[in-house]
Amino acid sequence: MDDRRYVTDVVVDPGAMRPGSRTVVLNGALKGDEALAPVEDELLALLRETGTLVRDFQLRDVPLAYCQGCFECWINTPGLCKTDGDAGRRITGAMIGSDLMVLLTPITFGGYSSEIKKAMDRSICMVSPFFRRVGGEVHHRRRYRRYPALAAVGVLHEPDEEQERIFRTLVERNALNLYSPATAVCVLPAGAPSPVVRDRLATSLEPVLGRLAGRAA
């Protein structure tokens, strides 16, 4: 499938590139919402400095079917969604093949945008149908030996402590269920000036960016 319309492999300075690490960015901006674009620019600039190879998906332009909740990816075609011919397998493949997965999203009722959610729902093939117990709760067992670290960058159109709290909890829960070895969350107000965005991103994402830099070095 020709995916040039919605995927960008970020070009890095060949001299600076240490292709020891890979990052996938899922941009979940809804149609007509351009508040994420300047944040994405700063995010990509920060990632570039680590020397990681970035694969950047603009989800609103991606042909992607929604999860039907059929569990065939666990039983009939283990590890693969039955839906082929869209970008689903390419996105989950990029996720599991990366060292860092970054979700960039408008915070929507405290959660991810529908665009991010469509991609995340398709990720259940990355874990096993079988169970394990963690802290008294049941979760699914891992399918792969290694999983990417998880970072989420949420943009709030109005300050809202409740939504920020829910968003942080959601990312923690995802990290637990997707075996993320490290997690970072950054919440930004829409329209923040670039230096503020860059500073907040660098500080909040340090736990995962530091790992990338270490891996690439």
Partner: protein, 224 residues
């Protein structure tokens, strides 16, 4: 005075008549109908065309009670539910203030513990606020897969606490009250013990894999 109206949105993408969210929502709706409410059911997967979406938006605007019954997908509401929540909130922001619509969220998950649904219920509460609904409460259910898409009454004693919890919720909604905490406590007691649930779940996956000839491939790593 015209009869009050309740609208149920089923958040599962599974075919009609096979989903656990539908079984749960239908049970609650039947209790509300017994209390003289008119009821109407929408399925997210059947509201994707613009004309169907418009019917859903109009029905919600004209309802006294809007009930969302949905599965938990990856710790939150599924894509289709999130999409409709975005559409409903945007639509209602453009409307002149109408009569109050009350909102109840019922979230079920495939893990035995209902606590997995907390984040999704929090998201539902914020959605209610943003869309101008009156929040009547959220109910979380663990072990939803044990329902198997069947009507709750057919499951007998297995669903007695669940049905009592939903009965209590319906009673409160009919009386114009918020859903009492006791309803959630009853849902939390519902179902089968965690270790038995996971054991039965494991056997279920193995049997299904055997039927499909994939028993030795269940641990495949095709994306690596």
């Amino acid at each position: 005075m015209s009869a009050r109206r309740a609208v149920l949105l089923v958040g599962s993408a599974r075919p009609r008549g096979t989903g656990n969210s539908e079984a749960l929502g239908s049970y609650l709706l039947a209790r509300l109908a017994e209390g003289s409410m008119n009821t109407e059911v929408f399925h997210v997967g059947r509201c994707l065309r613009p004309e169907k979406e418009r019917l859903l938006l109009e029905a919600v605007d004209g309802a006294d009670l809007f009930v969302l019954s949905t599965p938990l997908y990856v710790d939150a509401l599924p894509y289709l539910v999130t999409r409709f929540a975005e559409r409903i909130a945007a639509h209602r922001a453009e409307q002149p203030e109408g009569s109050a619509v009350r909102f109840l969220a019922l979230v079920n998950c495939g893990f035995p513990e209902w606590e997995h649904t907390r984040t999704a219920l929090d998201i539902c509460r914020v959605f209610a606020r943003e869309a101008g609904f009156e929040w009547t409460g959220g109910l979380g259910l663990g072990g939803g897969e044990a329902i198997g898409g069947r009507p709750l009454k057919e499951l007998g004693g297995q669903t007695r606490y669940l049905r009592r919890g939903l009965d209590l919720a319906a009673e409160a909604l009919l009386a114009g009250r918020v859903v009492p905490e006791e309803a959630q406590a009853l849902l939390a007691r519902s179902g089968i013990p965690s270790r038995l649930y996971t054991a039965l779940g494991t056997i279920g996956w193995l049997k299904a894999a055997r039927r499909h000839g994939t028993l030795r491939r269940l641990g495949d790593r095709p994306l690596q």
